[in-house]
Each structure stands twice: as C-alpha cells, then as structure tokens.
C-alpha cells in the first residue's frame, strides 16, 4: 500500500509541469468564455446600432476580440504541443472561422 502511495506521489511530481499546463489551459478557457459572451452581446448590438460612429466602434471591438481569441487558441495549442485541437477549443476555433 505504501509503495502504491509513493508511486502515486512520484507520478504527480513528474506530472507537475503537465498539471500547471492544465491549470493555465483552464484559466485561458475561462477568459475565452468571457470573451465569447462579450462577442455575443456585441453581435446582438451591431445590427441595431445606427450606421456610422457607433457601428464602427462595435465593429472595431469585435475585431479586437477575434484577435484576442485567436491568441488564446494559439497559446492553448502551444501548451498541448499538438496540432490537432481538442473538443472545446476546436469548437471555439470553428466559431471564429464561421463568424
């Protein structure tokens, strides 16, 4: 039993880097989610905004959100060290491309 525990501890120690990566990915996901909400709000506002200054402002904000989400996705990919996107991020990326 003691050996098993020790082995588990050793496993966690060797996996420490992976755990912190997991933590960072989770945090980025949380921020991406906030951005997604913000984007949805802006998208709803965009057609209602009168053409001109206000509309341009919203469009510029959307442009920035896309760039930020793109950066987030790139960082997630980098952390995973894989080219193939995972479930959640793949969806987010598709959404950016579709939008």
């Amino acid at each position: 039993m003691a050996t098993k525990k020790l082995l588990a501890k050793l496993g966690r120690f060797l996996d420490a880097d992976r755990a912190s990566q997991r933590k960072e990915i989770d945090s980025i996901r949380k921020v991406l989610k906030k951005l997604k909400h913000k984007e949805r709000d802006l998208r709803e506002k965009l057609p209602k905004a009168p053409a001109g200054e206000e509309r341009d402002e919203i469009a510029a904000k959307l442009e920035v959100i896309y760039a930020q989400r793109r950066k987030g996705l790139d960082r997630v990919k980098e952390l995973r060290g894989v080219d193939k996107p995972e479930k959640g991020e793949g969806k987010a990326e598709d959404q950016i491309k579709d939008s």
Partner: protein
C-alpha cells in the same frame, strides 16, 4: 487621537466667533467695520462668480486681446482705473480674472502696474479740481440692478447680476469700513509726529500705510494728506512720504481680496504687494532726487507755487518710476510666483476606505486599497472630464460624445492645480502610505502583486491628471478657436479622452465576474488609430498652408498630452479591473494584444471602412 483633540484648527472658527461676538457687544464701530469687511469679501466672491459666467465668451476674447502684450495690459490698467477711480476695485477685478483663468498671471501683473499709475489721476483730480468720486453712492443701485438681473433665467444676465452685486457689495463694504473708522479719523493729528531726516520719511510712510489700511482707500488717504497740506498741518516733505505710504497701503486691500481667491488670485495679490513694496522702497531711497525732479518739472509746467499739484506730480512720478523699473522683470516675477507661491491645503479629499482596521487581514486591506484607488480614479475622472470641458453627466449618459464636443461653446473654467491638490494628491498620498503599510506585513505572492499594481495605478492616475493640466492650458486658449482646422483638431483630442473616460466608466460598472481587462485593448487600438490619423491630418494641413507650423506644433504637443492622459487612465483601469486569481490574470495577459499587435492592426487598413461582421469576417480568422 489626542493629537486631533489638541489641534487648534478644530477650534479656530469658534475662537473667531467668540472674539467677533465680544467685539460686537463692546463697540458699535467695530460691528460696522466687521460688517464692512464681510460685505467686501462677499462682493469679491460675487464678482468672481459673475466673471465665470462670461468665460469662453466675448469678454474673454476682448480681455485677452487687450492684455496679450505688456504695454497693452499696463494701458488697460491705467484706462480702467482712470475711469473707475479706484485702483482697489480694478485690482480686485483683475484678481477675479486671473482666478477664472481668463487672463494670464503676467497680464494681471501688467494691469496691476497700470492701475497703480492710473490711480494717480485721482490725486490730480483731488488736488486740481477738489473732486472725489463717491463710490458708495453707486452701491444701492448696483445692488438693486444686481438682484433684478439675478432673478432672470439667462445665464449671461445672471452673470451680469452677480457682477453688479459684487460691485455693490464692494462699495458698500468700503463705505461701512469708512463709517466705522470715522472716529479714528478724527484722532489723526499729523503735525504731532514731525521728525526730520530718513526716520521722518519712514514714520510718515508708515502713517500713510496705516491710514490707507484703516480707510481701505488710497484716495481717501490722499484726500486727508491734501487737506492737511492745504491747512499747513504737515510739511510738503511729510506729504510726499505719506503719499508713498498711501500707495503701499492699497496693496493690503488687494491682499485681503486675494484671500478668497484661488491660487492664481493669491499669486497676483502677492505680485501687487511685492510691486508696491519695491516701488515704495525706491521712492523712499530717492525721495530727495525725486523732490528735485518734481521742482524742475513744476517750473516747466508753471505749477511751482501749487503744493497740492506738486504732490500729485510726485505721486505720478514715483509710480511711473516703479513701473519703468519693474516692467522688464515681469516674466521673472511671474516665474518666481509660480515656483514659490504654492497652494496651502485646506479642505482635502478624505479617504473613504482606508482605516487602520482594514489592515487586519490581507484580503480586507487589498479590498480597501482597491476601493480607495477607485475613489481616486473617480475624482480624477471628474477633473479630467471638466478639463476637456465636458460635464460628468454627459460622460455618464448614452448621448453622442461627438455631438457634445461639437456643441461646446464655452471652456469650463478650472484651476487644475487647485483640484489636483484637493481631490487627487491628498488621496494619492494616503494610498501610498496605506500600500507601504500593507507591504510591511506578511503577504502572499498574489497580494504583493496586487498591492504593487494598485500603487502603480494610483501613480498612473496622478500622471493622467498632470497631463490634463498641460492640455487644459492650451485648450482654454485654442479649444474654441474660430479657425476651423484648429477647432476640429482640439475637438478630436477632447473626444478621444471623453471616449476613454466613458468606456472605462462603463466597464467599472459591470459585474466583476463577467468583465475582463481585455476590453481595454479595443480602446488602445482606437487611440493608436486616432493618433496616427491626427498626425497625418496635421501634416496634410501644414502642407496645404491651412495651418501654421507654430499652431501645428502646439496641437501635436497637446495630442501627446492627450495620449498620456488616455494611456495612464487605461493602465490604471487595467489594475482596477483585474480581480481574478493569479492564473486568470496570467491568462488575460497571454490573450492581451501587445504593442506590436496593436501597431499591426492600426496600420493594416487605416482609412478603409470597417468590415461588416454581420456577414462574416475572414480577415480576423486568417
């Protein structure tokens, strides 16, 4: 705590009331004099309020044009004092102008010099014609007209009403003071103090100061001197010394008026005192030589037998000498006043959240610090909004900022130094002291970072206010320029700051759980684009000769100040909005656009229309 209880400032008002009450009970004369002083000060406040109604309008333009050169401001002082026959009133009105930032300090000093010269016409009138304009007679009509105008709706008419009331109360105040001192006036037996030599000159100068301070009018003193000289009560030499004293005494009246004014007004009052002391010193030192010059000139003018007119000539000459001696050094005097006459704090903004109990736990200390920096930000927000001549309500509303900026027809008068000292610097000091206190305790890495970020935010806010001060100076001058490109340029600068203020305000009001400091990136991008557009517009206008290089340079400098305001506000807002864990903050940092991202996006398509996101946006997904 006991230090506060022993603080005499807490009780000074009570002490003053007791002294005044006792004085009123003991002496009816004292009551009259005190009422005179009170009316006089109230008149000053009304005058200042009245002039503020005209800032940014025609009066300001006229004033600026008539005081933009030293000779013009001196001529303005001479002309207005000759017309009003009261250097005191002209000096006090000038203090109001400087307080309301309608004219510069240097122009104010020029007017004061001119007023000193203009007041000598009174001596000629008194000596030559035996006339004296009785200003108290105008007090009642001025008060009545003032109140009637105050009841009107128009802001301009109301402003005129305050002016009339101010003049009325000033006159009434002087009248009451004179009435109150009538008893003292009887007691001046001038011939009793005859002393030969320099001591005699100094003594009579002192007496002249005293009489003028008591009677609050150098004209009244001159009347006494001329009457005494005509009656043979005093010698001609003593009369000259008394005239010097009368001149010096009139500065004291201005000093009293300066008490109620803001920093600019106080500096001008100080300039008046310095100018009059120096003029008096020169006149005393050269009294014999000047007496000789007066004798020579009076022979030329054919008035050698008239001692009264010779006295008037002496009065004019020594004031002229003072102006000639000091006029070349006005810039230096202005510099010294700006450098050394600083604000003495009275009612500082008190911290709302920093109290010793908040230091009990790191969490409570951090919350208190964050809220206090937020409070500091709010104060700076108000100051900066007024600094760009927009009301807080406009920033808080959903109304178009472009329209609000375009429709501005007056620059809001603002003493940035004053508000900075009261509302910003005092709080910043408290924030820094509290943050140092927190850092002296055991803290987690997260808390250390937060304290550092909030302390930095407090500094950013202060920097934003300082940049506003520089910007406001030129904005008052060119913000409402009739030159369209200049006006548009300044409108653009104001609009940019207003947008940042509004956006940050909206973000700070949102739920901290849903808001992210990443939202500030779009503002950063917007600022970068605006800055580029502004510079290229200026270059184009200079090339096409629509703008002179001199004004273009000022505008570019001001654009730089505006960028500083925006950047510092954004940095401060970043710290205020970041409330998540360390990992979340790091994640936000990873997603935030860096300088190169912003530069790339700003330069991508500077003038092309924005992509229509409703139909897809391939560009950002590439």
């Amino acid at each position: 705590m006991h230090i506060h209880l022993l603080d005499p400032r807490r009780y000074w008002l009570l002490v003053v009331f007791i002294i005044l009450g006792y004085g009123f009970w003991v002496s009816p004369h004292f009551k009259e004099i005190a009422a005179g002083v009170a009316l006089f000060l109230f008149g000053m406040i009304s005058l200042e309020k009245g002039f503020k109604a005209f800032t940014g309008g025609a009066l300001e333009r006229v004033l600026r044009r008539s005081t933009n050169r030293l000779w013009k401001s001196i001529a303005f002082g001479i002309g207005s004092t000759t017309l009003m026959q009261s250097s005191t009133l002209v000096s006090l009105i000038t203090i109001s102008f400087v307080s309301a930032e309608m004219i510069t300090l240097a122009a104010g000093i020029g007017i004061i010099m001119g007023a000193n010269l203009g007041t000598t016409t009174g001596a000629w009138l008194i000596a030559g014609l035996g006339l004296r304009v009785d200003i108290a007679g105008y007090a009642m009509p001025a008060l009545v007209f003032g109140v009637v105008m105050l009841l009107q709706r128009s802001k301009l008419v109301k402003g005129l009403g305050y002016l009339a009331l101010g003049v009325g109360f000033l006159f009434l105040g002087i009248h009451y003071m004179k009435e109150g001192f009538e008893a003292f006036q009887q007691a001046f037996e001038l011939s009793a103090y005859e002393v030969p030599g320099l001591w005699g000159v100094l003594l009579f100068t002192g007496i002249g100061v005293l009489i003028t301070v008591i009677m609050q009018s150098s004209h009244a003193t001159l009347l006494v001197i001329i009457a005494a000289l005509a009656a043979g009560q005093i010698t001609y030499d003593a009369a000259l010394a008394l005239a010097i004293g009368a001149n010096l005494g009139s500065a004291v009246t201005t000093a009293i008026g300066g008490m109620t004014a803001n920093l600019g007004g106080k500096r001008l009052a100080m300039a008046h005192v310095i100018f009059n002391i120096m003029t008096a010193a020169v006149a005393i030192a050269l009294i014999e030589q000047m007496g000789w010059v007066v004798d020579q000139l009076s022979v030329l003018m054919g008035i050698q037998d008239d001692l009264l007119l010779k006295l008037a000539l002496f009065h004019t000459l020594f004031n002229l000498l003072g102006v000639l001696l000091l006029a070349p050094f006005i810039k230096q005097l202005e510099w010294a006043l700006l450098r050394y006459v600083q604000f003495t704090p009275k009612s500082r903004a008190q911290p709302l959240y920093l109290y010793p109990g908040a230091l009990e736990t790191p969490a409570s200390a951090l919350t208190a610090l964050r809220k206090e920096v937020g409070h500091l930000y709010d104060n700076a927000h108000d100051l900066i909004a007024h600094g760009v001549s927009l009301r807080r309500s406009v920033i808080a509303s959903d109304d178009s900022l472009t329209e609000a900026v375009k429709k501005t027809h007056r620059i809001i008068p603002l003493d940035v130094d004053d508000v900075y000292e009261h509302k910003v610097k005092s709080l910043h000091n408290e924030v820094i002291a509290f943050a140092s206190e927190i850092q002296g305790r055991e803290l987690s890495e997260y808390a250390i970072n937060q304290v550092y970020a909030l302390q930095q935010a407090s500094r950013d806010i202060v920097e934003a206010v300082k940049a506003t001060k520089h910007l406001h100076k030129n904005l008052s001058r060119y913000g409402l320029s009739s030159n369209v490109p200049v006006r548009e340029g300044y409108d653009d600068i104001r609009l940019r700051i207003a947008r940042v203020l509004r956006e940050i305000r909206q973000l700070r009001q949102q739920d901290p759980e849903t808001v992210t400091s990443l939202s500030l990136d779009s503002l950063r991008l917007c600022m970068e684009k605006s800055g580029r557009r502004f510079t290229s517009d200026i270059n184009r206008m200079v090339r096409s000769r629509r703008l002179s290089p001199a004004i273009a340079t000022s505008m570019l400098n001001d654009e730089k100040y505006a960028s500083e305001v925006c950047e510092n506000l954004l940095e401060a807002a970043q710290a205020l909005l970041q409330t998540g864990t360390l990992a979340e903050q790091a994640a936000e940092g990873a997603l935030a656009l860096d300088a190169s991202d912003i530069e790339r996006m700003a330069s991508a398509e500077p003038d092309s229309p924005q992509p229509d996101h409703t139909h897809g946006d391939e560009k950002t997904a590439r």
